[in-house]
């Protein structure tokens, strides 16, 4: 079938044809596979969060105490300290610990993806523009970093 015949076919064809069943079934199977993988992945709640800047761990703190921290970049170095509203931070991510979860509650990165990722008690939160990764680990997921 050449190009013009295919265009004619699209014009005559309905939006869905019987062959779509195979593609949609494959798509649904893929989603089911992803769901199974997601359920089988260990999700033990973490008790500590670790902050990595450019792949290097620069800070860690327990999740059992509610607190606010600020990550910011100064002279190419990533720094984490207790949040102080009076300081004018640049290239920052505000990290909030509440009820055993951690989230990025504010940032001046261009896309704010890290804020949209929400509060986590396991797994990771990333901020690609600031090369920041927050990793939450529990006893079951402890590794030697």
């Amino acid at each position: 079938m050449n190009r013009d015949e295919k265009i004619d076919q699209i014009k005559r064809q309905k939006y869905f044809v019987w062959g779509d069943v195979a593609v949609f079934a494959a798509a649904l199977l893929l989603i089911v596979f992803f769901v199974l993988v997601a359920f089988l992945t260990p999700k033990e709640k973490g008790d500590t969060f670790y902050v990595f800047y450019r792949g290097e761990q620069i800070f860690s703190a327990l999740l059992d105490t509610d607190a606010e921290y600020i990550f910011y970049i100064e002279n190419g170095e990533g720094i984490v300290e207790k949040y102080n509203d009076s300081n004018g931070y640049k290239s920052y991510n505000r990290i909030s610990v509440e009820g055993g979860t951690v989230r990025v509650s504010g940032a001046d990165c261009p896309d704010h993806t890290c804020e949209h990722l929400g509060a986590h008690s396991w797994g990771e939160i990333i901020c690609v523009p600031h090369d920041l990764r927050i990793e939450i680990r529990g006893k079951g997921l402890e590794t030697d970093v």
């Binding site: 076919q9 997601a38 396991w122 990764r133």
Partner: protein
Amino acid sequence: MKKITAREISILGIMLAAASIVFLIESLIPPLLPVAPYVKIGLANVFVLLVIIYYGAGKAFVFVLAKNLLTGLISWSGFAIVFNLAGSMCAYLIMAGLYAAVFPKVSLVSVSVAGAILSNIARTSVAVLIMEAPSLYVQLPFVGGFSLAAGIIVGILTTLCVKHLPERLTNVK
């Protein structure tokens, strides 16, 4: 690849501009899937599919590269370029492949659904690779479901364009 005519270049230029504008408008919309904010509907894929249909896979490849270069220059952001290039190249490869191999046994909607799913899996994989954060793969069930819906929307829009666009706009001869 056959010799390209002035008319083809002008139509492809208009489609490139339209695809870039749609892409930039879509990037202004807040994330529709908050758990995986880097996935998107990919409305610009309507234009990629139209170029595959009317001009063939070879010209569509150049079109995808040009679209990424143009949108990358406008919204200058290194990491966004990597996400978008990975997503759009994967979508292009599967859509061009399926359109050449199995259309009309499957509809354009299926071609588009495959493109959307692969594109968003590629974007998630880029996030995992850049940030060394494999736990992001846990988001794939949401990403897959979202992509299925996004692919249906893009596929129906493309079919509507082919059915209803006046022939003087699409006749490349």
